[in-house]
């Protein structure tokens, strides 16, 4: 039922788009109709797929790296008090400087290839992932820690054992929220990187098509990108939910409420 509703809305928008183009007779290099875009999709399917694969790889690598780095920083900041003093400002600064502003630098340093785009995607998602996990690590049920303290009292390594076996697990739902957010914004990093300088990827294809007035191809690339981004988010969300199957009912994780409430 929900899926049908979505399809109807989508079909309505496409029909309205085609109607607008037919009625106004707007030039195809300003706004191509959905039929033209569909034709471009079929005509350039090979090129689109190739560039999409590049962009998808950049996004996936960026998401993996950003998650790893965010996880590691949060663990360091959550466990070691000195690290909090040294790393926290760095974390804030990493977000204060817009990634858009340093994109040309990254391309200059890391080249036109995939590395600079992966770096861009990593940078853009690092902060939300690290901060949500830090929050999660801090908000551990105090009763669990008390229990763990009586169980490990008088033993060396007790603090780390409590952190590893309790705080980290307790923080995972928060980390999952961060990763979901990361999955939603990682494509931005990759596309910006491709715009600034590249020779492959959907962002590159869009710029290239735009310069040659092939606006239908540009729209086709945009459609592929949208499908890619949505598929990534749905996959990440499903993975997070599978890994956190133990969450008690009614304990909200953002995406769970968002998706379930529509049923």
């Amino acid at each position: 039922m929900r899926r049908l509703g979505f399809l109807l809305t989508f079909a309505g928008i496409v029909a309205a788009w085609q109607g607008l183009v037919s009625v106004t007779g707007v030039a195809p290099y300003i706004l191509p109709g959905p039929l033209a875009v569909g034709r471009a999709l079929v005509l350039h399917a090979g090129a689109l797929l190739g560039h999409a694969a590049t962009t998808a790889a950049e996004i996936a690598l960026g998401l993996g790296l950003g998650t790893g780095l965010g996880f590691a920083s949060a663990v360091a900041i959550g466990y070691l008090r000195p690290a909090r003093r040294w790393l926290m400002p760095l974390l804030v600064v990493s977000q204060a400087v817009p990634v858009f502003a340093i994109a040309p630098l990254l391309v200059l340093w890391l080249g036109y290839g995939m590395v600079s785009k992966v770096a861009m995607a990593t940078l853009i998602i690092y902060f939300p992932i690290a901060t949500s996990f830090i929050d999660g690590l801090r908000r551990t049920e105090p009763g669990w820690l008390d229990l763990a303290r009586t169980m490990t009292a008088g033993r060396p390594g007790a603090a780390w054992a409590c952190f590893r076996h309790i705080r980290i697990h307790a923080g995972l739902p928060a980390l999952a929220s961060g990763v979901r957010l990361g999955a939603a914004i990682a494509p931005i990093g990759a596309i910006i990187g491709e715009w600034v300088g590249s020779n492959a990827g959907l962002g590159y294809l869009m710029l290239h098509a735009n310069a040659r007035m092939k606006v239908d191809l540009m729209f086709a690339a945009l459609a592929v990108l949208a499908v890619l981004a949505v598929a990534l988010f749905v996959a990440v969300d499903a993975t997070c939910r599978r890994l956190l199957h133990w969450l008690p009912e009614g304990l909200p994780t953002e995406a769970r409420t968002d998706w379930e409430e529509q049923r």
């Binding site: 049920e141 105090p142 763990a148 009586t150 008088g154």
Partner: protein, 259 residues
């Protein structure tokens, strides 16, 4: 496992400038169950947390043999405190996981069987009812196999029938250990305790222990206990009249999160 009692000497606790207790001394006899009663906010849980090493004691807490209590205590809260990401069996063996030692899973299974949950070892806590979860918590407490067991209102979140069953079960399984149980329920205290203490006043003081004959669990409606019940209620009324409601601090640290 030799029984070890608890000796508290000169315990002092200040909470937000209010002296909760000062120079408190008490001996909990080895192998017996002692219940702590008193008006809410009087410091029962604080005393328990102090013995558990979870709050600074400002005095000395030790075993009746003079040794430290760290590592000889198992703690059970009114909330089950099960870790939701661990299966029931892994929650029961949490202690060895935290200490990095091998978990004795057959022993854990045997304990689960004693609390009637042998079929739930592989379940996650979210699938269990409140009573089942508290039974898992009891199994986890017993799995620690410590001579001293501290319980903070362990059954207060349960419905009456489940509470009765769990009281019987824990009396049976905890026999021979030194148990200190905080409770607000005189009925529960009479069922389970060998000694009942009423904590009252500010700074709080422990009255003389009420000695309860026979082995727990008892039937508090049985003839001999009626007189003790009256005596206990009188003491509680006196303790309640002696406390000043508007100055009672929220001594329980997690009171807000308690169900």
């Amino acid at each position: 496992m030799p029984a070890v009692g608890i000796r508290v000497v000169g315990a002092t606790l200040t909470y937000r400038g209010d002296i909760v207790f000062r120079d408190l001394a008490v001996d909990f006899d080895p192998g017996l169950t002692s219940c702590l009663l008193g008006p809410s906010g009087v410091g029962k849980s604080s005393l328990l947390r102090m013995i558990a090493g979870l709050a600074p004691s400002g005095g000395r807490v030790m075993g009746s043999d003079g040794g430290p209590l760290a590592g000889r205590i198992a703690y059970m809260d009114q909330r089950d405190l099960l870790l939701p990401w661990l299966r029931v069996i892994d929650n029961v063996t949490l202690g060895s996981r935290l200490r990095g030692t091998r978990a004795d899973r057959p022993a854990a299974r045997a304990l689960l069987e004693r609390v009637g949950l042998q079929g739930n070892a592989a379940d996650y806590p979210r699938t269990l009812s409140g009573g089942m979860r508290q039974r898992v918590a009891l199994a986890r407490t017993l799995m620690e196999d410590r001579p001293v067991v501290l319980m903070d209102e362990p059954f207060s979140a349960l419905d009456a029938l489940t509470r009765l069953r769990l009281q019987d079960l824990s009396a049976e399984l905890l026999a021979g250990r030194t148990v200190v149980m905080v409770t607000h329920d005189p009925f529960e205290a009479l069922r389970l305790a060998d000694r009942i203490y009423v904590l009252s006043g500010r700074p709080a003081e422990l009255g003389e222990a009420l000695l309860i004959p026979n082995y727990p669990p008892r039937d508090p409606t049985a003839g001999g206990l009626a007189a003790l019940h009256h005596e206990l209620l009188d003491r509680l009324k006196a303790a309640d009249a002696g406390s000043e409601p508007e100055r009672r601090p929220a001594a329980r640290r997690h009171a807000a999160g308690a169900p």
